[in-house]
């Protein structure tokens, strides 16, 4: 409780300094809007529904794209870890493509899919897939061979060993890969939404983009705030429980 209070006070101070700087006319209000304006924008856009709708659209794109990335990435990682051929081909490809910022896919996606949801999905998948694949591969490779040998002496074979030993043993790597994949998916989607104008729905990125076009910096900052908030929530709700489980079981530091 005391910790939470300290956190709240620290952030309140930060906002107060910000407001103070704005009131002191340190910068032009066009460059830095006051936190009150940002708050007003947020409340107004929640009232008229644009913010919630945009958030829902963005989360849908993100969730679906990320799920596809996960469903494809895990088996691909397994294939790469299991077979030398895939390691030399797919593994190399994944390693290379992973270094490519996924916004680079935007021109191609536009050309292939047009101004559609499909283009968005494609960019999100390209953003998250490869880091999940590579993390799964690394996870499987880092499983001590003695785990599988012990399982074999106890009568475990083939797929049973992979499911009950290799997969859980690679969990720490896989989860950090999933986290990274999630972060990459976010970045890709924001880039895609700012870059590609689709007619099927306004996401957060598009709101941010139009904030810029209208020179409404309180809108830009407000949307940035919402993006940060969703990112934090996702981390706390999605990944924290698994991470806590792993810390407890593996005995790694908190």
């Amino acid at each position: 409780m005391k910790r939470a209070l300290k956190t709240i006070i620290a952030f309140a101070l930060l906002v107060a300094v910000w407001e103070g700087l704005v009131l002191a006319k340190f910068w032009s209000p066009v460059l830095l809007p006051s936190p009150v304006d940002v708050g007003k924008y947020l409340i107004d856009s929640i009232r008229d529904g644009t913010l919630l709708k945009a958030s829902a659209i963005t989360m849908k794109r993100l969730g679906l794209g990320y799920a596809v990335g996960l469903v494809l990435g895990l088996p691909l990682g397994l294939l790469i870890a299991r077979f030398r051929f895939f390691q030399d081909t797919l593994g190399l490809l994944a390693l290379g493509v992973q270094t490519l910022p996924s916004v680079c896919w935007a021109p191609l996606a536009l050309l292939w899919f047009g101004q559609t949801e499909a283009a968005m999905f494609f960019i999100v998948i390209m953003g998250s897939l490869w880091s999940i694949t590579l993390a799964t591969d690394a996870g499987v490779r880092n499983v001590p061979p003695i785990y599988a040998r012990a399982a074999r002496t106890m009568g475990s074979r083939g797929w049973h060993t992979w499911l009950t030993v290799i997969l859980p043993a690679s969990l720490p790597f896989v989860v950090s890969g999933m986290k990274q994949g999630w972060a990459f998916a976010w970045r890709s989607l924001m880039a895609a939404e700012i870059y590609i104008t689709v007619l099927t729905g306004f996401g957060l990125g598009q709101l941010l983009h139009y904030g810029r076009e209208l020179n409404a910096m309180e809108q830009v900052i407000g949307i940035m705030f919402v993006i940060v908030l969703i990112g934090l929530l996702a981390d706390k709700l999605l990944f924290s429980p698994i991470e806590r489980f792993m810390h407890r079981r593996w005995g790694t530091a908190k």
Binding site: L70, V71, L74, P75, L78, L79, R82, P144, I146, Y147, R149, A150, A151, R152, T153, M154, G155, S156, R157, G158, W159, H160, W162, L163, T164, V165, L167, P168, A169, L171, V174, P241, I242, F245, R248, R249, W250, G251
Partner: protein, 308 residues
């Protein structure tokens, strides 16, 4: 609090199912091992090792780990394989376990050729090889879950029995990382014993422990062996350990790995590490071991001289 716990459970379940589904396609063509046995007419010894050879391709050329090794082990016998590191004793143990195939020769368990690992021959490794994502009970249950015709409650009963046998009934729900080295090996022992194998293969299981813990475990292992009369093959490079535990000590030499000598240890049990008789046996075996090493060194020097 309840709700939080519940949500987490649901979430983990959902997640594991999702993970499971995503892995299925990649798994379908992972071949399962063939564990068929070939029957022979006369069932003889518990374990019959028939001129087993094995070479490895090391960085400095071929390593002859085992050269025509033959050995018979009777039902209920406690045999120690003793030798310097690199003499192939662990290799032999892995071959008996069915984890590695021999280059030539074969191992018969109850007259049947060993072609793969099986739960009638359990292995205990130098590292405990316990699974950190399972608690102590979960680790012991792992092997039991693979044993057919056991109900859930039977499995739990058996697991609790063996955890009690190794003195860890109070740590049933502890996490692996919370255990000391000795406790980990006790769990590993319980895990190996739980599916009731007829043969227990132990690969320097106490080598990484401190002397006091080790001595305690010698006592416990002898007691458990006395109660259950498993056939135990125990690999070690510690002469006293071998004499303390074994009915028979088999002395190996290295490059190539070969059996050099047998010693029958006719000492009453339970044996304490510090008894004078035990020390006498150990001294005799130690002398023979040093002799062998000296001879080996001599041969090496000769080779060096010959090679110029």
């Amino acid at each position: 609090m309840e709700l939080k716990f519940f949500c987490r459970e649901i979430f983990l379940r959902f997640f594991s199912i999702l993970l499971f589904l995503t892995w299925l396609p990649g798994l379908s063509y992972l071949r399962t091992m063939n564990t068929e046995f070939h029957y022979r007419s006369e069932p003889a010894e518990k374990l019959a090792i028939e001129s087993v050879s094995k070479t490895f391709n090391g960085r400095s050329g071929k390593v002859h780990a085992l050269d025509q090794v033959s050995l018979n082990i009777k039902e209920g016998e406690f045999v120690c394989l003793l030798g310097p590191s690199g003499c192939g004793k662990s290799t032999l143990l892995n071959i008996i376990a069915g984890l590695d195939p021999p280059d030539s020769g074969q191992v018969l368990a109850d007259g049947k050729a060993v072609t793969g690992p099986g739960r009638e021959r359990m292995v205990m490794f130098q590292e405990s090889a316990l699974y950190p994502w399972l608690d102590v009970l979960g680790n012991v249950l792992y092997g039991l879950k693979l044993k057919p015709n056991l109900t859930r409650s039977e499995r739990r009963k058996v697991a609790h029995f063996y955890l009690k046998l190794v003195g860890l009934e109070k740590f049933v729900h502890a996490h692996v990382h919370e255990l000391s080295g000795g406790m980990k090996q006790r769990v590993a022992l319980a895990r190996a014993l739980a599916p009731n194998p007829r043969v227990l293969l132990m690969d320097e299981p106490f080598a990484a422990l401190d002397a006091m813990t080790r001595e305690q475990l010698y006592g416990d292992l002898q007691e458990i062996w006395g109660k259950q009369r498993k056939t135990i093959v125990f690999v070690t490079h510690n002469v006293r350990e071998a004499v303390c535990l074994g009915d028979r000590v088999i002395l190996f030499s290295r490059s190539p790995g070969k059996i050099q000598d047998h010693f029958d240890i006719a000492l009453p049990r339970p044996r304490g590490m510090n008894s004078a008789n035990l020390a006498n046996y150990a001294a005799a075996i130690d002398e023979r071991l040093k002799e062998l090493l000296k001879k080996e060194q001599g041969e090496l020097n000769e080779l060096k001289v010959l090679n110029g």
